[in-house]
Structures are given as C-alpha cells and as structure tokens.
Subunit: 367 residues, 2 copies
Amino acid sequence: MLKHFEVSDEIAVRVPLPALRTTTEAIFMKCDVPEDQAQLGADVLLYADLLGVDTHGVSNMLRAYVQDYKNLALNPTPKWRVVKETPTTAVLDGDRGLGLMITPKAMEICIEKARKYGTSVVVIRNSGHLGAAGYHAVMAAKQDMIGWCMTGGGNSLIPTFGAEPRLGTNPIAVAVPAGKQPMFIFDAAMTTIAGNKIGLACRNGKKLLPGWVAKKDGTPDMEGGAAAEFTPGTLRMQLPLGSTRELGSHKGYSLAAIVDILCGQLSFASGFSTLASDRRGHFVAAYDIAAFGEVDEFKANMDGMLEGFQRTKPAPGHERVIYAGLSEYETEIDRRKNGIPLHPEVVSWFKGICAEFSIPWNLTKQV
Amino acid sequence: MLKHFEVSDEIAVRVPLPALRTTTEAIFMKCDVPEDQAQLGADVLLYADLLGVDTHGVSNMLRAYVQDYKNLALNPTPKWRVVKETPTTAVLDGDRGLGLMITPKAMEICIEKARKYGTSVVVIRNSGHLGAAGYHAVMAAKQDMIGWCMTGGGNSLIPTFGAEPRLGTNPIAVAVPAGKQPMFIFDAAMTTIAGNKIGLACRNGKKLLPGWVAKKDGTPDMEGGAAAEFTPGTLRMQLPLGSTRELGSHKGYSLAAIVDILCGQLSFASGFSTLASDRRGHFVAAYDIAAFGEVDEFKANMDGMLEGFQRTKPAPGHERVIYAGLSEYETEIDRRKNGIPLHPEVVSWFKGICAEFSIPWNLTKQV
C-alpha cells in the first residue's frame, strides 16, 4: 500500500513549484530515467500536486516509483512499441516503463488519430502506474477534444454479494473543454472512496465511515467504526461505488468491470483473464469536437451547462454547488502562487533521497 | 411519469412472445409507423421484456409512445438525416422520430465505420425515447465489437450539495462479447435507483428506502421512509449513485454530467446549454475488437474474467456472485420458453387499445 500523508495547514510546508519540479526531475534522472522522460514524469506528478490531488502527487507516489526502479520492477529506459495499429486504434507495449511517461505518448498518438479521423482509442499493456488519470485526459481537452483515460487492474474491490476482492479501484477520468468556465475534469475511482484513504485511516488509527469497506465475510459495513486493517498488515476490502445493492453497488461493480475490460482485455494485457492481482492496463481515448460541430459553439454550450450547475440552489449547510474540476482549478491558482504544501515527513523523505542521490537540496526555501 | 407495474408470479399472465410481437407491431402501425419501423420498434421493446427489464418494455413504454404519436409529439414517419459526418463520426437529426428506431440506425452507421476505421461515435439529436439503451449496445457486441449507448437529458437528479434537480437519470449501457459465457451487458441509470421505481412506490403507497431521494431542502434522505411524492403530483428528487458526498455521490453526479455532455453537447441538441428539462440526446459508440487483437483470444479472455466473477465466494445470505447481463440471460431463456409475464392491468390496456385500433385480439392464449 502506498503511503499517503494528509496535508493540514498547521503542519504543511509550502514549497515553491519550480524547486519541487527540479528536485523531482533530478530524482527520476538518478533512477536512470532520461532527462526528457524525467521532465515528463515530474510534470504528471506535479499536475496532481497542483490540483490538490495529493494522493497521486510527489508525496505518495514518487517514493514508490523510486523503490520500483531500485528493485528493477520498472524499466527506466523502456523501448515501448506499437504492437498493433489501425487508423484510429493502437495497442502499445510499455516495456515495463512507468505509465507516467508512456501514457502521454499514447495520448499524443490518440490525439493525432482523432484529429485525422474523428475518434481514437489507444491502449497500453506492460506498463507501470500512470499517475493521475486526469492528466492524460486533459491533454486531449487542451486540443479541443473530449479526453478520456482509465487504468484497470489489481484486487481491492469486492463484487456485489461477494466476499473476495476481484477488481481494482479502477479510476475513470474524462476531461471536456469549456469556454470561459474552467474545464470539466472528472477523475475518480469506482470504489466508494479512493484506496489511499483506507491506508491513511490505517496509519492514523482512524475508524472508517459507513459504506466504505466490507466486513470480514463480505457483508457491506454500513455501521462504520471498523479499523482499516482486516488482519495486521492486510487492509479491508473496499466496496464498489453504491456500497450496497439497495444503494446501487452493482453499478459501481459493473463500471469497475468495464474499466478492467477496456484497459486490460482490449490491450490483451496479461493476467486479466485470471483476474491476477498484479495485472495492469491503461486506456486513453479522444473525440475531436470539430468532427461533431463548431468548437466555439460547443464551448459556449458547455459554459452554459457548467454555469447552470453552479447556479443550483445549495442544500442547507453547503455554500455552493460545484462541478468536477472547479475546486481543483481554484486549488491550482492558490498553489501556483503560494507553493505546494508538503507534510514535514515528505520534506524529510526528500531530504533523505536527495542526500542518498547527491542531489542539491533546494526545498528549504519556502514561498 | 411513465407507468410501471411490477410483475409478480401470483398475478402475472404469461403471454407468448410471437403474439405480443405481432400485437405491438400492429399498434405501432396504427400510429402510422411504417411496417419495417414498427417491427424494429417492437423488437427493441421486446428485448427489454425478454431480459426482464420490464420498466423499458411494452408494459410501461408502449402506451407512452402511443400517447405521443396521438398528440403529435412524435413523428411516425421521420426523415432523419446525417447533419455532419467524418470517417468515424456522425451527427444525426432524428426529425422527432422515436429513438427506438433511429438509434439502431445510428448504431448500424457506427458499426460500419468502426469496421472500417477501428472506432466510431454517432450522436443523435431531435429524437424521442430510445427504449433500453442496452439493445443498441448489444447490436455492436453481436458484431464482435464493444458497444456503448447512452441517453441524456431531463431533470430528476440533484447534484451533490444541491437542492434542485439538474440532470436526468442518464443511463449508461456497455455490451462486451464473450465466448462460452453470456455476454457482459451493463445498462443502468446514474441515479441510485431507476426513476420508474420512485413512480412505482408512489402508486403503491410504499415508502422509499434510505439513500434514494433527497429531502425537500436537498439534503439526502438517509433515514428512508419518505413518501415518493414531494407534493401531490410531484415526485421527489433523486440522488446520484453514491447518495451522499461521503459515499461518493459526486461520482454519480459527475458520471451523469458526462452522459449529458456526450449525448447532448456532442450532438448539439437544443436545451443542453440551459439544462432545459425537455432536452434529449443519444450517443452510441463501437470499438472493433479486431482492431486491437484476435477476437477469439479476446473472447476466451473475457470468459476467464466472467467465470472469475462467478467463482467469487459469496457473502452470507447470497447464493452466488453474478455479473451484469448474467441474470438477464437466464431470464431470457425462461421467457422465450414460458412467455412474457404481463400484469393484468397491462393485458387490459392491450385489450382496450386493440379494440380502439381494430387490431385482432391474440393475447388471450397463454403459454
């Protein structure tokens, strides 16, 4: 389970973005990742940090990647290749490279094909973690396309009525450009909550809320109050979005299955036919808006819809109604100006790895 | 609100499929629908009845369509046309025809394009209800493609933290072919439960379960026990899949928004920029499996996955773990053999409309 540290204003250290970027790139390069790939990997990680998706930024993920480079699970200089290709599709083999770098390459191919033919789907097998799926979806949205990215595999989610995990948290990310409004960016796991939140609760000794996990026998825990660990060292099984059959968990389970199919079966990645726990596949798609109509009209219509969501009368206790991507947009403005908040433990990890890798220490200067 | 009658074995009349098909086709034709279109419309309706999706079969929907033909809301002889087209995309204008007949046409175009180029997306504006979205997705799956169909519009779902409805129930259907196993068919609304279940509870005077609807002020009703009607004649607002923010309702809300965007914004249908309650758009997509690899290998891998789901140890109180499409497959076998169960009220409606339209009565003979 990857580490996660919740950042609170009391204890967070604000680190300037450029220094964090330089340091992250240097760490990748010390793992033998070529400079341009290191820059790309850092960009994907810092996208998450900028938008406030701290679970997928430098705090949690970088140390996991370094560990996997060290133990040779990841190939720092992959020779990725196109295994199969048609006018609008491609299947890539990532040669055990990190998904952070191969997925943007897949999305570039996808965008080029969608520009030419209207739509495109590119899938990736034999590749590591892709970071925040939203990063790759946004690449297409910036090109006036609807962008889509998913990653499937792993066993942490139990099917409805099941007592054993069979699917990963299997996030779906979709990005849609707008005009004046910040773009719509959805990026979420098909479990009730993100996997890292279970890990966080475990380390903090916090009890879990109702609807997040299953009891030992598979029954959804709707009372809450359970410890995150099932047995020492084993975290509890997560429930699909919907939690119980009555609340629609068969929908979360099925959506997670669709992610597994599109990422893993369509890329013919290994382990998907047996639901092996270490299976992994990625999926990106792009739909060129110009193939359907006028881009400016589409964006103006999107503005109207997104403004409509925001004009919705809020329920008591809530200041406003937002849409996916809006609070992330606001967080990005704050963090670009005021720096990325890091937990002191994360700063300490950076200090240690910089010393180990003989990288100049530049994260002391706060914004 | 459309009528729905839950079928129980005690009171259901089993009607043979061929007789029900003939009668349904005749009713469409009496509404001035041409014969081939009437046959297609009946096929889409009976798909739902065969699979046990009674909310979208003849019981609920046919009378609504007849009403809309009578009041000229629907055009029985639409001149649908391709408004815009690229190698892999098309935008159709349905000329106020029923979605039941235009959506299969859209999927035919989609399949042809996907066969040639690998992937395709076709969207439809200015068209009525499309029946069970799964029907159209399955068309592609039968051609060894991953099929996808969605329909967006209407206001019955309240956004997370909101107190007013902004989105429809916005179902997503995805069909994936397998080998020996029944194909995977997901078809579900992005609200906690289907809209018709609220209407059913209303007519039966049943109380609602926790997590299905919002209280008057928008707060999710997690206690349950509310009446389905908010004020006389107005049904309660539905919660997104996830019910509350803590249980992930922002995911259901965002998925419903994505459906609205892909169906309505991408088809440039009217009313989507203002979230008008009578807006409607449809979306179909097909991904040709042969564009990604060997179809037989894909199907064998799918079999492995689907068998894996079924081999999952069940939680206490449950006999087995299933996947989307499996119980529908079993229902279809039963209903093809033993007939379609209809509530006596539905048989009575058929009797009345057959008398009105001078259609020979053939639903008496039971299986």
